[in-house]
Symmetry: none
Subunit: 140 residues, 2 copies
Amino acid sequence: MPTPHYGQPRYRAIAEQIRERIERGLISPGSLLPPESALTAEFQASRGTIRQALAVLRESNVVATEHGRGTYVAGPACTQRSDWGSESELRYRKVPADSELAVLFAVDAGTTLIEGQGITQKNGAVETVVRIYRIPRTES
Amino acid sequence: MPTPHYGQPRYRAIAEQIRERIERGLISPGSLLPPESALTAEFQASRGTIRQALAVLRESNVVATEHGRGTYVAGPACTQRSDWGSESELRYRKVPADSELAVLFAVDAGTTLIEGQGITQKNGAVETVVRIYRIPRTES
DNA sequence: AGAAATTTGTCCGTATGTATC
DNA sequence: AGATACATACGGACAAATTTC
């Protein structure tokens, strides 16, 4: 069999399926995923491909892996929210890097960055504005 | 040959060597690294291992890769700075409000605001930049 | 405590698809 | 169109950590 991967590569599709399974609650947070050998059998994919899929989920902090133990659903960190008071939206958009950000990130001025902005209010008036910048994820 | 990897795994050692080569300036920022095939020959490692090493550097934003093009050096470390004074966790300065901030704070554009900036780093590269704005405390 | 089984980590080699020059 | 270079996928082998018996 050749290895065609029109559109979505195999490992991403598998990662998506596993992610859905997690978000659907079919695997309780903190519990172990099936071992790579089982996933290999289930998805009829080589172990390398399965590991690539798990790497995607690991990247997104959806799961965590321990040597010799297994891969479990990252429950506590995700589900648990400690003591954050009220909710406020954090909006994202793409902006070109100004000269200062360009220096900090070691990119050319004008390079597209991801900017997130949030605000805190007091008595209906804006108290503080926070902006966070990062380099766009190279994937997706 | 067996696959002994006592201590440091091969791909990490290779990543380290390439990183040193970059930090030493042997490869100018923005230029292309040798292709994976060349690195394969040079380090006498399989292409998979080389790709693992490059993945490490990509993770740290030391390099960036484009499909049929090659792998770039993302740029030297970020010891550079603008006019922020010097080393401190958070640094503040006064800036005029841009139009957007002016709307949020309900002040005139150009009004002086307090801007604080902080950065987070990962492996010597800037990961995120945070800026926080507020109205100067006038009264007491 | 020790041995075996399980599971993830590392590495190799090969083949083919896809994007860029 | 051809050459170059990265992306995806397979299969096999052995190492290292954990669990189980």
